[in-house]
């Protein structure tokens, strides 16, 4: 009996430390799921901005992938992790927060910088402090502010225009306009939306409105986020607290529900909240930490939008809060078993 079994085991057995089974959830699967979740946004982007969007997306993804491959291959001489799809996620996310009219070479540089300085200098996936896509965007914005702040209307021909938030910012600083408006009894939001000829439903669906490639259509973002949520890759503490903070903050500051809804639907809030704030690597671990993180992002976003030098603050607010994540994590360590705390 023994001999018979020994024959069956002639080939050496595999011995590993426990556990011997795995959930099957891998990094690559998480990243490709994020890529899948981005498809609706990409589709809307290409529908809205046609060739412009396609060029920018291809350029950033190419930049990101080339950076990932080249740095790992020539500098670290390690196995390349292109296949896990994380560079593509970064590339696409960066493209989604760039203006469609941006030259391809700048988009390419952005993708390259995002991966090189946002991720690979720290040792690759999972080690970075800041969201790589937003690092790419922030550096591009500081480097080429002109290209980064010129917007076009959706469609085949590039008619330049202003984004709702940029228009609002301009109106807010225009004192004579403000007096005219208050005399005529029109709110500033009504003025903005009338001038730009958009409605809230346009803003929600992303039709006929200028903005960066991925931020126009909120519904597409929500569909993608829903997919990620169902797959269990994102938790809603941070995004919901960020959105709520912006909404409530705008409501109290503007003292009008339209003002709040406008801020909810304008700009990259949804995209940032569901795809950047939820980035596992650069967000806190604990539930309370995530709520704090989201609130911080919301407050800074609103501050920059209302008082700052830029019309949109989602990108910077997330980067600034990213810097606080190690401290937040330190503050909210999970309660140890036996200390009576609850998770």
């Amino acid at each position: 009996m023994i001999a018979e079994n020994q024959a069956a085991v002639a080939k050496r057995l595999m011995v590993t430390s426990s556990p011997h089974i795995h959930s099957g959830l891998t990094t690559a699967r998480v990243m490709w799921d994020v890529n899948i979740a981005l498809i609706p946004v990409l589709a809307m982007a290409i529908y809205n901005f046609r060739f412009y969007a396609l060029t920018v997306i291809l350029a950033t993804v190419a930049g990101a992938c080339i950076a990932e491959f080249a740095i790992q291959k020539f500098f670290f001489k390690s196995k390349t992790t292109l296949r896990d799809g994380s560079a593509i996620v970064t590339g696409i996310l960066l493209a989604l927060c760039l203006p469609p009219s941006i030259p391809a070479w700048i988009a390419f540089t952005g993708g390259f910088i995002a991966i090189a300085f946002g991720k690979q200098v720290y040792g690759g996936l999972g080690q970075n402090i800041f969201n790589p896509a937003h690092i790419g965007r922030a550096i591009l914005l500081a480097s080429w502010p002109l290209y980064m702040t010129s917007w076009i209307k959706p469609g085949v021909d590039a008619v330049s225009t202003a984004t709702p938030l940029a228009f609002l910012k301009e109106s807010l600083t225009n004192n004579s306009l403000l007096t005219t408006l208050s005399e005529s009894g029109k709110t500033i939001i009504e003025h903005t939306m009338q001038t730009l000829n958009i409605s809230f439903s346009d803003m929600f669906l992303g039709i006929g409105l200028a903005g960066s490639i991925g931020e126009t259509s909120k519904i597409a973002v929500l569909i993608g986020a829903l997919f990620l949520f169902i797959r269990g890759h994102i938790r809603l503490y941070a995004p919901v607290s960020m959105i709520l903070t912006v909404f409530l903050g705008a409501y109290f500051v503007g003292n009008s529900i339209n003002f709040a809804i406008f801020h909810l639907l304008a700009g990259g809030l949804m995209l940032g909240a569901f795809f950047m704030v939820t980035d596992m690597v650069t967000s806190p671990m604990s539930r309370r930490g995530n709520v704090l993180f989201g609130i911080g992002c919301g407050i800074i976003t609103l501050l920059i939008r209302l008082k700052g030098g830029y019309p949109e603050g989602v990108c910077y607010s997330i980067l600034i809060m990213n810097a606080f994540v190690p401290l937040i994590d330190k503050m909210f360590a999970p309660p140890k078993f036996g200390t009576g705390g609850n998770k």
Partner: protein
């Protein structure tokens, strides 16, 4: 006129500061370790923070109390660094006259990297101790070097490298015999031996001859042939294992020739 005012001002400023400070230093005097003050004399006091400590005084304190190294300081001259080391009693390792005192690490295993002597293929944390925790490591011989490089990682002097057959190799020129690798090895394979000696038994297995033969091609079986042939009577057999008494060993290499298992080797003389 202006110059006089300037000089006067600076003088008065210096005087006031000096008086206040000397008064304060009396009034608020706190005893500190005299050693720290001694060290402070030689430390640059540039307070640049380059050492990672918050200022020169903190470094001095760390040197005296926590055994930090003055080499952390980027601004200090060599002479002052030596002076501080002298205060701390860490002088350059005195060259002992006894050649046996100069030691280096020796890896006492020369197991071959063949599947024949393996129980299984190890996959997991790259650490020897971690491998031991999984079914006592992948090798049939319980004494064999695991080849995962815990000693290499432990060496602060970069004197160990992984060589052929997945065995670490010691660079005797760099080895200072600090003993970190000896502690790091879960199989107790590494020993510090005199650098001048070149004949070593490269096996630590005290299993019986029968077991050892099954598990290794070059393991010592404690047959005693080396002991019989040693002209200096420097070899003893303990627990099925030959051991060289380095004080008696004359490096003749006779045992190397007679060993039937090739467990004893004679290495090339290091350039010292």
């Amino acid at each position: 006129m202006n110059i006089i005012i300037a000089a006067l001002f600076l003088g008065i400023l210096g005087l006031i500061s000096g008086i206040v400070l000397s008064f304060a230093s009396k009034k608020f005097e706190v005893k500190v370790d005299p050693k720290i003050e001694q060290v402070m004399q030689y430390i640059p006091s540039a307070n640049c923070g380059g050492c990672g400590y918050p200022g020169c005084a903190a470094l001095a304190e760390a040197i005296v109390n926590n055994g930090a190294s003055i080499s952390l300081c980027v601004a200090i001259s060599k002479r002052n660094a030596d002076a501080i080391n002298k205060i701390m009693g860490i002088e350059k390792e005195a060259k002992s006259d006894d050649p046996l005192a100069r030691k280096a690490a020796l890896i006492r295993c020369q197991g071959l990297d063949t599947d024949e002597y393996k129980n299984f293929e190890y996959a997991g944390v790259k650490d020897c101790q971690a491998a031991v925790l999984v079914q006592n490591g992948p090798w049939k011989c319980p004494h064999r070097c695991l080849g995962l490089g815990s000693c290499v990682a432990a060496c602060p002097f970069d004197a160990l490298k992984m060589g052929p057959n997945n065995l670490p190799v010691v660079d005797e020129a760099k080895c200072v015999a600090c003993g970190k690798c000896v502690v790091a090895c879960p199989k107790q394979i590494i020993e510090l031996v005199p650098q001048v000696k070149t004949v070593h038994v490269l096996c630590v297995s005290n299993d019986t001859a029968k077991d050892t033969v099954k598990m290794c091609k070059v393991g010592c079986i404690g047959c005693g042939i080396c002991k019989k042939n040693c002209p200096a009577d420097a070899i003893v057999i303990e627990n099925n294992l030959a051991k060289i008494n380095y004080e008696k060993c004359i490096d003749c290499g006779k045992c190397v020739e007679v060993c039937p298992r090739k467990s004893i080797i004679k290495e090339a003389l290091p350039d010292i």
